[in-house]
């Protein structure tokens, strides 16, 4: 009878320490992110604006509602970096404090949107069937509605205030992340490791929480950043229309509206709010774009 024994002293498994070390997922993502200059600018800008908003009282020496009647409608100077408005308020101070509602609205609408969207999306994608049908119809419904009108209407009904803007914007902000997560969960559900988890008798909720959700996190981070410019813009335009942050609390959109009426003689009142709205939207978009590139490829070649 033929016997095939192994060849003498075959080195069984080469130790991994000699082998190529793969970069971890987040290390590789950071490497890709770094290559995108706009994304880097976005990150720096967002960090700065965040710090400015948090430490506003330490950044400017004036109070936000402080009026200097003798200084009304002055251009930029050493005393007033961005000049002053028609009541003699310091525009720099109002800009600094105005960053707060913008960021609060941006972050909270996205957080609520992602919580709602992820829950619905995972349920739809992972469970499928009737749940999927209902969620898909909801998504269709909300993406077909003129969301801006709904938001306007809601703010009118609920009275304009910071939390009402957040509520109104959150009602529609979940649609994007829901669609994203649903598609992703559907493809993850087909992966063999999900089947393996089922075969090992791991409870459904654990599978969703520990096997499906972690795969969605990179995408969610991107969706979070990508949704913020929209929210920033929405807040600014609502305030512009007088449906957002009410005076005397400052908001960039509101300041833009005020600046509009003084534009021909005192352009600085229009310039600073509009420049920073544009810059912020651009920065968040750049950041989101960089994040998308960073997390899009999740395999090491």
């Amino acid at each position: 009878m033929t016997t095939l024994t192994q060849t003498p002293s075959t080195p069984a498994t080469t130790s991994l320490s000699e082998e190529r070390h793969y970069a971890g997922f987040w290390t590789a993502a950071w490497r890709r992110f770094r290559r995108n200059k706009l994304a880097l600018f976005g990150m720096v800008y967002v960090t700065l604006i965040l710090l400015v908003a948090i430490f506003a009282p330490y950044i400017t020496k004036y109070k936000v509602e402080q009026i200097f009647p003798q200084d009304a409608l002055q251009g930029p100077s050493a005393a007033h970096f961005f000049g002053s408005d028609y009541l003699g308020r310091d525009i720099f101070t109002r800009m600094v404090y105005g960053a707060r509602p913008m960021l609060i609205v941006g972050f909270f609408t996205q957080i609520f949107g992602i919580i709602i969207g992820t829950t619905l999306g995972i349920m739809a994608g992972y469970l499928g069937g009737v749940v999927d049908w209902v969620v898909t119809r909801l998504v269709d419904l909300f993406s077909a509605l003129p969301w801006y009108l709904i938001v306007l209407y809601l703010v009118m009904v609920l009275s304009p205030s910071l939390q009402n803007i957040i509520i109104a914007l959150s009602i529609t902000s979940w649609v994007g992340s829901c669609r994203l997560v649903r598609g992703l969960s559907m493809s993850i559900r087909e992966q063999e490791y999900i089947e393996a988890a089922q075969a090992l008798g791991i409870p459904g909720w654990r599978v969703v929480l520990f096997h499906v959700l972690p795969q969605a996190t990179p995408l969610l981070i991107w969706a979070f950043a990508a949704g913020i410019p929209g929210a920033v813009f929405a807040e600014a335009s609502l305030s512009f229309l007088g449906m957002g942050i009410r005076p005397p609390n400052p908001s960039w959109g509101q300041m833009l509206a005020e600046g509009g009426s003084y534009f021909s003689y005192w352009p600085h009142m229009l310039f600073f709010p509009s420049a920073f709205i544009i810059l912020s939207v651009l920065a968040f978009q750049g950041l989101a774009d960089g994040l998308r590139q960073a997390v899009a490829v999740n395999v090491n070649v």
Partner: protein
């Protein structure tokens, strides 16, 4: 053979996947992936399940494990009817039966460290917890021939063969008695295949495991399996001891299958007579009438096109579903 203990008993198992189509997604037919299959798996043996892609062999394996619930029929594991078990009871019963997958790249969660992959099932079923679970995970890695420090790594750091070993360790983490090996070597390199096969054989001996070995690689099946079942279009067409199936294949399909495998020896290949089957495997939505193999069978007779052949024992333990042996005058 009859005195051996039956571990798994499959009777008249069917799995039909509905096909929807038309304007209103109406039910327009069924994919008969598994169509009336009966087989027994005895404790400690390796039963080979061979057939071409789309013949339903993977579906059969998953239906036995209740990963896919059957449309009809029964599956008994140690005389317990599995098709009736649901919910938490089914989840708990999973520790007895496991599966090893074909693709070592998609069968491991890319974002989960190896340690977690191995300890999660243990803690879920309360087998081991905490440091005990970690020790057990390290022990499992050693058992499958890997280093214990691999515990702190992610799947992307491993080669296909190493991943397959991790997949095997994961299946072993719940101390199963029965493992369905779903083409565990077909996506590996030739030089790695024999490593994994040796490992599976060693583990079977050490842990007294029972395998259902699904494969299309007949030369490996011949080496690993004690008995072989040949599947074609959702049905088992021949079943018997490995020596019976390899030495004396009865069904024309089995004969063609054997003759189609290229043998790595030019001298043998030169003098070999080959049965080249015509055409493709028919669609499992509209399988041919009568014997399902009649459209490609070189020995087809009139009766094959009208009547479904009976699955009959021809010699001791060797069963075949073919009119050639039952209906010939």
């Amino acid at each position: 053979m009859s005195e051996r203990e039956k571990l798994v008993e499959v009777r008249n198992l069917k799995k039909y996947f509905p096909v929807k189509g038309g304007l209103f997604q109406r039910h327009i037919g069924d994919v008969k992936a598994v169509d009336d299959v009966s087989l027994d798996i005895y404790t400690g043996e390796t039963l080979g399940l061979v057939g071409e892609s789309g013949c339903g062999k993977s579906t059969l394996g998953r239906t036995i494990l209740q990963l896919i619930r059957p449309s009809a029929g029964s599956v008994k594991f140690r005389n317990q009817e599995l098709t009736a078990v649901t919910g938490d009871a089914l989840r708990r019963s999973r520790t007895k039966m496991q599966i090893i997958f074909q693709n070592p790249y998609s069968s491991l969660n890319p974002r989960q460290m190896i340690e977690r992959t191995l300890t999660e099932p243990m803690s879920v079923h309360g087998i081991y917890r905490g440091t005990e679970a970690k020790e057990r995970a390290a022990q499992l890695l050693k058992m499958v021939g890997l280093e214990t420090y691999f515990l702190g790594r992610f799947p992307s750091e491993f080669s296909g063969g190493q991943r397959q070993r991790i997949g095997i360790a994961r299946a072993l983490s719940v101390n199963p008695e029965f493992i369905v090996c779903d083409e565990p070597i077909s996506s590996l390199d030739v030089s790695i295949q024999s490593q994994i096969v040796n490992l599976l054989k060693r583990l079977q001996k050490e842990l007294s495991l029972t395998y259902l070995f699904i494969s299309h690689d007949l030369s490996m099946v011949r080496y690993i399996c004690d008995r072989i079942a040949v599947m074609y279009l959702g049905k088992i067409v021949e079943q018997g001891e490995t020596d019976q199936i390899c030495g004396n294949p009865l069904h024309p399909y089995t004969q063609a299958l054997w003759s189609a495998i290229p043998i790595p020896d030019p001298e043998v290949e030169e003098g070999r007579e080959r049965i080249i089957l015509e055409g493709d495997v028919p669609s499992p939505i509209n399988p041919p009438n009568g014997c399902r193999f009649c459209t490609r069978c070189p020995k087809v007779m009139d009766i094959c096109r009208s009547a479904d052949p009976e699955f009959k024992e021809i010699e001791n333990g060797h069963k075949v579903a073919c009119h050639w042996y039952t209906s010939r005058p």
